[in-house]
């Protein structure tokens, strides 16, 4: 296997990975919103998919596939806020628009706190990996 074979193999594997990924996401959304299945029916697939995508982004950040020249606090905060807002809106829509009776304000607030915390933890993890990845590359350049 020479470099061209490897390049083709990597490309095909990457395309197949994303096709599989989007197929599973589509199936999950279909089961969730069309078939109205319980979360417990597809929880295992959802967990695998979530962990998989989190690790994918982590690896891309650590190995330098996502170019980050400097970590800007303003941009990080913006991404964090957008993520929290989208997550909160999705949670609200899922629980109070697509299902009835919806959640009470207290229950929604509890979920909001979870979204804020988990988003913070994930972003903190990614920032840490970005810093470690950058250090690793700087070390290689020494």
């Amino acid at each position: 296997m020479d470099e061209r074979n490897k390049q083709i193999a990597y490309k095909v594997i990457a395309i197949m990975y994303f096709l599989t990924f989007f197929a599973i996401v589509s199936i999950l959304l279909y089961r969730q919103f069309v078939l109205r299945q319980e979360l417990s029916d597809y929880e295992d697939i959802a967990i695998i998919l979530t962990i998989n995508s989190l690790f994918l982004i982590s690896a891309l950040l650590y190995f330098g596939a996502i170019p980050i020249r400097r970590l800007k606090v303003k941009r990080i905060l913006l991404i964090y806020v957008v993520w929290v807002v989208v997550g909160s809106l999705f949670t609200y829509a899922y629980n109070n628009i697509f299902q009835s009776p919806g959640l009470s304000f207290k229950q929604l607030f509890d979920k909001f706190i979870i979204i804020v915390a988990i988003t913070g933890i994930i972003m903190g993890f990614w920032i840490l990996l970005s810093i470690l990845g950058k250090k690793r590359l700087d070390k290689e350049l020494e």
Binding site: D2, E3, R4, N5
Partner: protein, 67 residues
Amino acid sequence: MENIKLKIARVEKGLSQQDLADLVSATRQTIGLIEKGKYNPSLNLCIKIAKILDRTLNDLFWYETKE
């Protein structure tokens, strides 16, 4: 863009595409595609090929663009 320079250098050295491929640990198809200009080899592979053919990278892979 076809790489005639590489093809000429290989033939002058008396090597077939398969011979060159074996010497640089590549496949015949890869050498063929490089000569046809349909695959951009890595710098490492370019250097290996240049060394085997006793040429410089400029001799094999540089071409002037028409103004």
